[in-house]
Every structure is written in C-alpha cells, then in structure tokens.
C-alpha cells in the first residue's frame, strides 16, 4: 500500500486512541476530585495530570493560573491545542478523509459522525455534563474500534491501524501509571492506606477494576495494580498486551529495511513475556516507565522511517 496511506491510517488510529485515553485520564481525575480536597490539593492534582500528559508547559504558556474549568477546556475543547480531545477527533477525521477510499464506508461514517457531533458541543462546566461528555468520547471510541474490527479486511491497512492503536495505548497506560509513581520507589505490596483510593481510580479509569477483583480476589495493592497493568498479557490495555500487538502486527508488514525495528519490538515484548516484575522495577517504577516511554517513542520513530516516510527514489 502507499506509504502515505499507511501514515494516515497509523495516525488516524493513534488519534482515536489518544482521544479515548484523554477521556479516561480526565475521568480518573474527576472521580478523584469528588473526594474532599483543599484548593491546594486540587491545583496539585491538575499539575500532576498535565505533567503526566507532557503538556504542563503548553498549559502554562496559555493560562497563568489553574482553575478546574480552564484545565478541562484546555484538555477537552481547545482547538488551538493539538493534544485536546476535540483536536484529536478532528485529526482522526481528517486522516480518515485522506484515505476514505482505503477504510470501509462504515469506518468513515463513524469517524465523520463523531466529528459532526462534537463540532458544536461544549458542555457546561457542571460535573454531570462533563461526565456525560467523557462517557460519550469513550463510547465513540468503542464504536470506532468495533467498526474497524467488524468491517476491515485483515490486510496491511488493518495492521497499520493496529500498530497505531497499540503504540498509543502503551503510551497512555504508562503515563497513567506514571502519574501514580513516586520517584525512586517500588509500589508497596500492601493495602495503600489513605492512598488506596487513587489506585482503585486508576483501575476504574482503565476499565480494569472488575478485572482486578476477578484476577486477585483480594484487596487493592499498588504492587498488584502495577503487575496487572504491566505484565498481564490478557488485559487489553496492559503494557505487555500492547507490546505483543505491536510486535505481531509489525511482523505482518515487515519489509526489506524493517528488521531492526522488529528486533526492538520483539525485545520489548520479551521483557514482559519472560521478565519478573521485581527485576523490571528494580530502578523504581518511575524510571522503569520513563524507559518504557522512551522505547515506545523510539519504535514510533523507526516505524515512520521504515514504512511511512515515502521511499526516496535513489
């Protein structure tokens, strides 16, 4: 397929996944905000959320102060901020439009309808409306995923959308976990006392709370949450799952110049498949996640280089 087409598909699926992740992150944030907090804590939480997304400076450049309403609008509705939910859905729709001949009409109609709906939509800053909005974003992402899986031929085009989805998913899960990591520390393997609630929230915003209960049938501990989100291959958004999907889809589209990229993806997957959590986390959870995000970034760059950037003639 055309390199440009692959590029559009890759970014289309990344942007949908990113919009969904943002909705999940904001959802976790709002659930947390329902606990009794002082204004200081509220501001600290927003700083943590913005930092974990890597957009703290971009926010400060536009807004001198924190207010929950401003921060929410920045992450959800700011058309001038490329990382907002609305910008992601716009970019996903524009990428889809550029390859509407390659994706199925159902996929195109789903993405286009999502865009048509969000275009005129800005909920009032009451919590109920925000909750509805975030649920709507997740619902539209479920639809996009369903229509992709349900209608698309399992060809190269499909593989590139999957690679985009799981690179973005890996990035999002790592960042959400990172927001809970304390520098240099291992997560504790005992109920986390006053902190316990944030770990439960993390599970809920990744749709993994019920899964946790089923797998562990025990109290929520930071260690087990980390284990679930990093090592469980059968959890759809775990780092292990994402790494496996990236690797297998990459193998399916391999070309003459992609051997090194495949090797690196395989190496990443093997670390989860055969590694032990205590070894992986030896440098501390934060450093481990930082290293993982760097590897995911490197894979993204290499995939662009091997497949998506048009091959030069000479």
């Amino acid at each position: 397929m055309l390199s440009r087409t692959a590029d559009h598909l890759f970014w289309m699926s990344r942007q949908i996944e990113r919009a969904e992740s943002l909705a999940r992150i904001l959802d976790a944030h709002y659930r947390h905000a329902l606990l009794p907090h002082t204004a200081d804590v509220v501001a600290r939480d927003w700083r943590a959320t913005l930092s974990s997304l890597g957009v703290f400076d971009a926010y400060r450049a536009r807004h001198p102060t924190f207010s929950p309403a401003t921060a929410f609008r920045f992450l959800a509705f700011d058309r001038n901020h490329g990382g907002s939910i609305v910008s992601c859905l716009w970019a996903a729709r524009e990428n889809a439009r550029a390859v509407r001949g390659t994706i199925t009409s159902e996929m195109w109609e789903t993405l286009n309808a999502t865009w048509l709906e969000i275009r005129g939509y800005e909920p009032e800053a009451s919590d109920g409306a925000i909750g509805d909005f975030l649920e709507w974003v997740r619902y539209r992402a479920h639809l996009s995923r369903g229509v992709t899986l349900g209608t698309m031929l399992r060809d190269e085009a499909f593989r590139f959308t999957r690679i985009g989805t799981f690179l973005e998913g890996a990035d999002a899960t790592a960042r959400m976990l990172l927001a809970r990591a304390r520098s240099g520390q291992m997560p504790a393997d005992e109920p986390a006392g006053p902190d316990a609630y944030v770990w439960t929230l993390l599970l809920r915003s990744l749709s993994a709370f019920e899964v946790y209960r089923r797998v562990y049938r025990d109290a929520v501990t930071p260690w087990r949450v980390t284990e679930l989100l990093v090592l469980r291959e059968d959890l759809p958004r775990s780092l292990h799952r994402c790494a496996s999907e990236i690797y297998s889809n990459l193998c399916a589209v391999a070309n003459d110049q992609s051997a090194e990229t495949e090797r690196r993806a395989g190496e990443l997957q093997s670390a989860f498949r055969f590694g032990r959590l205590e070894h992986l986390l030896a440098p501390g959870l934060a450093d481990f996640l930082g290293g993982f995000l760097a590897q995911v970034g490197d894979l993204g760059d290499r995939i662009a280089q091997d497949f998506l950037v048009p091959v030069t003639p000479h």
């Binding site: 055309l2 440009r4 001949g101 070309n255």
Partner: protein
C-alpha cells in the same frame, strides 16, 4: 421561467407525458409530509456519508452539500437511444480530431478549421505532436453537456474532455433514490447505472501501454482540499485502485512508480484528475506541487498511459466547439445526430457586431472558461454588468463566443414553496477505450433559483437522479 420552456414531465395541457404517468400517479398518492421527511433524511444521509464539495473562494475546508432533489428526471427509451447514438458519434469524431491535430493536421490543411485557432491556442500542447497514444484514444472519459431546447430537441452545449466530474453524484443519487423510495423501482424498469466503476476500470485497463499483461491503475488527485476530492476517493474505492497524490509517485528508469510500504511499485495507467498544467513540473508549471517530475518523458516514451491524454483541452475549447459538426462530417463522413447550440464566434467581425448589438439577449462565454465562471447571461445582467462585459469583449474579441439564451427544459423540483418547474441539463459520461460505453442516463443538474439557467454546483445548482426507462 422562460416562456415556452419544454417541461420534461407535463404536457402543455397539464397532463403527464407518457413516460411520467406512473411516477405522476405515485406522487399524487403520497402524503406531503412523507416526501418532506424523505427529503430531510436524504440531507442528513449525504452529510453523514460526507458527500460534500468544497467551494472555491470560501473558507479553507468549507464543505457543502450539493442539493439533491427527489423528483427524478426521466428519459424514455427511444429518446435515450437517439441521444446515445449521437454521443457515440460525437466522441468518436472528437478523438479522431485529437489524433489528427497531434499528427497530420489534415483538418487544418483542408481549411475547415483555421490553423492559427489550433496552433496559437494555449490548449494545444506541442509536446504531444507525433506521440501515439494507445488505441488512438485521447478523451477516455468525456462528459458531454446536453440541453433540451423549447422545440423538444437535444443540443450539445459543451464537450468536457479534460477532467469531467460529477459521476459520483450520478451513482450516489441513484443509491439515495433506491433507499428513499424503493417502491418506485419496483414499478418502473429503470436502466441500472451501478456498474459504472467496473466499466471505467475495464476501460482504463484496456488502454494500458502495449505489452503490459496485468496493468496497475491509480487515480491521481490534487488532494483532500480539491473541490472534487470526494469523487476521487469514491471512484478509487469503487474500482479498488490506489488514490495517489503527486508526492506518492516518482519517475525512475523511464517508468512511474508508487511509493509503497513494500518499496516502489510500477504504475501503468494514471486516471488523472489534475489539469495538464500541473502534471509535471519539469514540463509545465514549474512550481506545481501536485504533479510528478519527469512524468511527461515517461508518457512520451509510451511507458505509462494518462487518461485523459495530455492536450485534450484543444478539442473542448469553446473556440473549437462551433466546428464539431463539421468534424463529424470530415472524419466519419456522417451527418451529426446531435446539433450544436447556434454559436457566434466573436473573432468573426459580423458575429461580433451582431453580439454587441444584442448583448442583453445573449449568453457570452470565455473560450477557455469552465464551470460557469467568466460568463455573461445577458437577460439576467444589469446595465453596468453589460457595459463592463462589452469592454472585456472589445479588448479581446477572439476570447469569446456568444449563444442565444436557450430556454432550457424544465422539470418539477421541490423548492421552499412546494413543487415548481426549474431548468435542467444533462451530463452523460462517455467512456472510450477498446470500445465506447455509455452508462444509461448521466447526471441531471438543476438550477434551483426560479428562472435561473445556471446549473453549475459552484453557482448554487442541485442534482436529480436520472432514469432511462427500459423499452
């Protein structure tokens, strides 16, 4: 409405023409709110599917629907047979003319067309002189605009031989009508149009360079910001071919390649939806970002087919249009089955004098213009517009032709006030390859403003489904 315009549906006594009787009876039996609901449904479906077009001069990225009218334009079998024969004849002659102009130029030597009209025309491409194209076909896809005058006869208004558009609306309009009113298709035997993409693909493959057994075809688009992008994507998808932009192609070793995720892949036939000027920055507009450097040299070497061929603009130029009936006689030895609209050629002093004296009654067109831009409709123009246009004509008479204001036929159309007659035209699509194929019907465009004769979508026109009834 112009007096005496031919009504496609109704006879002067108000009863239905024979081929509209079934539809008329059905329409009368419909509750008005059902039609209204269906019309609203059509609008929302077109938006959701994204069947939109961009309008030049509006905000970047502005997308609009082309208004769709639910009353079909119906043609009886015998009228279509006549039209079809006339269209085949005309396109055969136009392809013969293009072959001649780019080879022996017999028609110039015979004195039928003045040589300077061709050789000094910006649409004439000297790069094409002496180049053989597969099957001698230049205009693989022709959109011939046909109108019915007050005498009930069809006339050719314009030949579109460069990158004619609109066929996706023909297909989508049919799909929409079948979805909204399936019972109508059970009551009428309407000739199908759905196979157009198959016929087009077969046609494009049939003109591949000699010796290519399994040709690879791609559609070359200027990109997502082009007004017809929806159609480009739609046709590529329907044919199952790649939709490429100039940046996806490159030339190496006398071949054109696509950049793919598995390395270069050779391309044999390019269905281009880009004007000649932008195809190859080395040969034409040097600053074109849309084309492929070196494409012309590969083309001239016969290693890739471009459809339509480079240089077809010389045959649909409005200064050449008045000579098409004579071409039919010259190349085919036949009398034209379809008439031209009477045309005043303003490079002729007599025609110029007549036109200037009757400007308020005539339609004046730029010879190189297209899409309804740069034209004067005398009866609808203000004094100031007439004066301004008179100046433009006097500055360059050879740049214009004039035609009487035709009373285009009308067809009942839903407007705010209900059903009312509106002027229409018809663009059938003629495909030429190993043989000539015409999918029955074409695109019917309708001028939605009362009395307006301008059907172009860029100027507020709408479309209708076009039915050819099977005998």
């Amino acid at each position: 409405m112009l007096p005496n315009a031919y009504d496609e549906m109704l006879l002067p006594d108000g009863s239905h023409r024979a081929h509209y009787r079934g539809y008329g009876a059905w329409l009368q039996a419909q509750a008005p709110d059902r039609i209204a609901r269906r019309r609203a449904e059509a609008d929302s479906l077109f938006h959701r599917v994204g069947i939109t077009f961009a309008v030049y001069g509006e905000d970047e990225g502005a997308e609009r629907l082309i208004p769709f009218d639910v009353v079909p334009r119906i043609l009886p079998a015998d009228e279509w047979q006549l039209l079809e024969a006339g269209l085949r004849q005309r396109v055969r002659a136009l392809n013969a003319f293009l072959t001649d102009v780019y080879h022996e130029q017999a028609i110039l030597r015979a004195g039928i067309i003045p040589a300077e009209l061709i050789l000094c025309n910006t649409q004439y491409r000297p790069e094409m002189q002496g180049i053989d194209v597969p099957g001698g076909i230049y205009a693989h896809i022709a959109g011939i605009d046909v109108v019915r005058a007050d005498d009930g006869q069809f006339h050719v208004l314009e030949d579109n031989l460069r990158v004619p558009s609109g066929v996706s609306y023909m297909l989508e309009n049919r799909k929409m009508m079948m979805r909204l009113f399936p019972e109508l298709f059970a009551r009428h035997s309407v000739a199908p149009v759905e196979h157009y993409p198959d016929v087009l693909l077969e046609n494009l493959r049939s003109v591949a360079p000699v010796g290519v057994a399994d040709p690879t075809v791609a559609l070359l688009t200027p990109g997502a910001h082009n007004s017809a992008y929806f159609e480009h994507a739609f046709l590529a998808q329907q044919m199952g071919i790649e939709l490429v932009e100039g940046q996806d192609l490159f030339v190496r070793d006398d071949s054109v390649y696509m950049r793919t995720t598995r390395g270069p892949r050779r391309l044999d036939v390019i269905y281009r939806r880009i004007d000649d000027d932008f195809l190859d920055p080395l040969a034409f507009q040097p600053d074109s970002m849309l084309g492929v450097a070196g494409l012309l040299s590969v083309y001239r070497a016969g290693r890739v087919t471009i459809a339509n061929a480079i240089g077809t603009g010389i045959a649909d130029d409005k200064s050449i249009y008045p000579y098409v009936p004579e071409m039919i006689g010259f190349y085919l030895g036949e009398a034209p089955l379809l008439a031209n609209v009477p045309t005043y050629v303003l490079r002729r002093p007599d025609d110029l004098a007549y036109t200037l004296a009757h400007l308020e009654a005539l339609v004046v067109k730029e010879v190189h213009g297209a899409g309804g831009y740069g034209m004067l409709i005398g009866p609808a123009a203000t004094r100031a517009e007439l004066d301004a246009f008179r100046e433009r004509i006097l500055a360059n008479p050879a740049g214009y032709i004039a035609q009487p204001t035709l009373a285009l036929s009308t067809c009942p159309t839903f407007v705010a006030a209900g059903l009312a007659p509106r002027h229409i035209d018809l663009r059938p699509y003629v495909l030429s390859g190993r043989e000539i194929t015409i999918v029955p019907g074409g695109l019917t465009r309708v001028a939605l403003r009362s009395g307006s004769l301008v059907v172009n979508s860029s100027q507020g026109g709408g479309t209708k489904d076009t039915w050819v009834l099977e005998a």
